[in-house]
Amino acid sequence: MNKRSDQIQIEQVDSSRRSFIGAAVGTSAAVLAPGVVIHALADGQPRAEAVTAKVRWGMMVDANKCAGDCTACVDACDTENGIDLMHKPEGQSDEKFVQQKPSWMRKVKLKDNLTGRQSSLPMLCQHCEYPPCVDVCPTGASFRRADGIVLVDRHDCIGCRYCMMACPYHARSFLHDTVTVKPTRAPRGKGCVESCNFCVHRLDNGETTTACQDACAKDGHKAIVFGDLNDPQSPVSQALKDQPNRQIRADLQLNTGVRYSGV
């Protein structure tokens, strides 16, 4: 099989792809357009100056409010970041696909060994202050931004997956398959590593909420609160003061930006 013609094959427009793109663009435009307009009119101005450490983005997750079978946050994250556009390759088993597809946010179900009490919570990149993934990246692609967001600069990522070995939370995903449809706000490609970036494309365009937070609130659970940890008046700081909360794997002393209560 000619590799080059294969490559052109993927990029060449054929009618089924054309109509799929048309449908995808049309649907997403119809769904997103009202939101886009509203967001653009709200705070929304694209950032013109570099981020500083004045803001530290963080999140509190209340496991008590998290409903066992609800996956609203996961679904919203998948939609926001184009993960729902990635499909199982032909010949792949479903189980394998779940382990190989990008998974920025996931639901974890737990049972207490002593009491048997079951709980559930969403697990995502913890945006540590001392991220092990940043320490081990050979090219510096995995980095921590001044405002506390830990993300991968995929222009420098060589796909070695050392950060995935190092992450104490299984937060990172490797792209195992070619990406054919990419939203502008979330570029991704085969062979690089990615993880939750606190919806950085929203934050850099002036918004202050993440997709998961919005979805959880919309579903009525309000288990996720996101905001500026450096601002004592922000909802997330208030929430952290109101309830006892902790870091997952606190013994590692990573000073995570995501805190949990009720677990």
């Binding site: 998974s103 060589i158 792209l175 195992h176």
Partner: protein
């Protein structure tokens, strides 16, 4: 001073080219597998977001570890002044470079973006041991090449001790760096341990010498060059010491983890309930890789038979691969200790992966790994054929004039 003559490996042309053809075919298939994995994407492999390093890494790390160990024989001659090892030094250097190149090839071809190797070689985060390893690996090749030059070029012979010492220290740093890839990781129960660096150093001694002895015996046997029992006995006894040392480090590693309650989960997984990983440990690393070779090498009768010694070397290598499989893949398969005191019913990667992450080696991965071994052997074969790496004779009288 006794002069040692070195001569090119001169088995007859037909057999030489047949050997090259076989090795080239295996290497070529490995290359095609890498192309397939890179073109399709890693979904065709057994690796997932949970087990991110698979069979290629087992082979790559093994080859890299063996490479630094293969240089030992030369170091014993140059640095520690043992005259008997001096004729063996050239092949030692060649094998070290060849094994390292084979291992690095496999590692680089498995990258998600091997086309970005230039980025890896120009952009560095020096807190990462990987970044240091790039310098350590490339530097090793340069230094060993210089070392070989001091050994093979008469005019610079006088520098071979200095360069040899430098190479010896460098290879210790390299193997420390390789062991620290895992030793520095706080995230996993099986890693995060200072003992991994010296353990890898000791493993390198054993695997490197096993490779060396096998290649040496094969080359001499095929051509009919004399190789006396004195040298074979020395090397096989040394191998026995190294294998015993690896066993010691393995025991220390597990005893320490068995002591702490929080590691009981991972230890019972490794030693009892881990399925393939338990097999790889007990049958692969301990029985086949340590106990049986020790039995053979120190047996009064078997230890004198060349074919039994060769089998012992092969078993050590197999055991080493099993040990790497156990450390690298077993260490990833065991779940993270996210919620102590709680059982994870579903970690979010499907029920199948709720506890132990599933992994099975896929064919492309295996072929890539084997391709790396083939490249190393190909380089060695061409090297000994084309240049004067092998001493004319390793008969007892030549090696040790005082022997009976």
């Amino acid at each position: 001073m006794r002069k040692i003559t070195f001569r090119e490996w001169s088995i007859d042309n037909g057999r030489y080219w047949a050997l090259l053809a076989i090795l080239a075919a295996i290497a070529g298939i490995g290359g095609l597998s890498a192309l397939y994995m890179e073109h399709e994407g890693h979904w065709v492999t057994g690796m997932t977001n949970l087990v991110v390093w698979g069979t290629p890494h087992v082979f790559a790390v093994f080859l890299i570890v063996a490479a630094s160990g293969a240089l030992n024989v030369a170091s014993i001659g140059s640095v520690f002044g043992k005259t008997m090892y001096k004729p063996l030094a050239r092949l030692s250097g060649l094998l070290a470079i060849a094994l390292l190149i084979g291992g690095l090839l496999v590692l680089v071809l498995d990258l998600g973006r091997p086309d970005r190797l230039i980025v890896a070689m120009t952009t560095y985060n020096f807190k990462s041991i990987f970044a240091w390893n790039i310098y350590l690996y490339v530097g090793f090749m340069v230094i060993v090449a210089a070392y070989l030059w001091t050994m093979m070029e008469r005019r610079v012979n006088k520098h071979s001790r200095t360069v040899g010492l430098f190479a010896f220290v460098w290879r210790l740093a390299l193997t420390t760096g390789t062991g620290s890839i895992f030793g520095f990781l706080v995230s996993r129960q099986a890693y995060d341990s200072a003992v991994l660096a010296p353990m890898f150093i000791i493993m390198s001694f054993a695997y490197g010498l096993a490779f060396y002895l096998l290649v040496l015996m094969f080359a001499y046997n095929q051509e009919g060059r004399p190789m006396g029992d004195v040298i074979v006995n020395r090397l096989k006894n040394l191998l026995g010491v190294f294998v015993a040392a690896v066993l010691f480090f393995t025991i220390v590693y597990h005893l320490t983890k068995l002591y702490g309650t929080k590691y009981h989960g991972v230890e019972s997984f490794f030693l009892i309930h881990g399925g393939i990983y338990t097999m790889a440990f007990w049958v692969g690393q301990i029985i086949l890789g340590a106990l049986i070779p020790l039995g053979i090498l120190y047996h009064p009768a078997l230890g004198k038979s060349r074919s039994w010694i060769a089998s012992a070397c092969a078993l050590v290598i197999l055991g080493g691969l099993a040990g790497m499989y156990f450390i690298i893949i077993g260490g990833q398969a065991y779940p993270l200790d996210l919620f102590p005191g709680m059982t994870v019913i579903d970690e979010g990667f499907g029920e199948v992966a709720a506890n132990i992450a599933p992994y099975s080696p896929s064919l492309p991965e295996l072929l890539l790994g084997l391709g790396g071994v083939a490249v190393a052997m190909l380089m060695t074969t061409v090297g000994i054929r084309v240049l004067k790496f092998l001493p004319e004779s390793l008969a007892d009288k030549v090696v040790d004039p005082h022997s009976a």
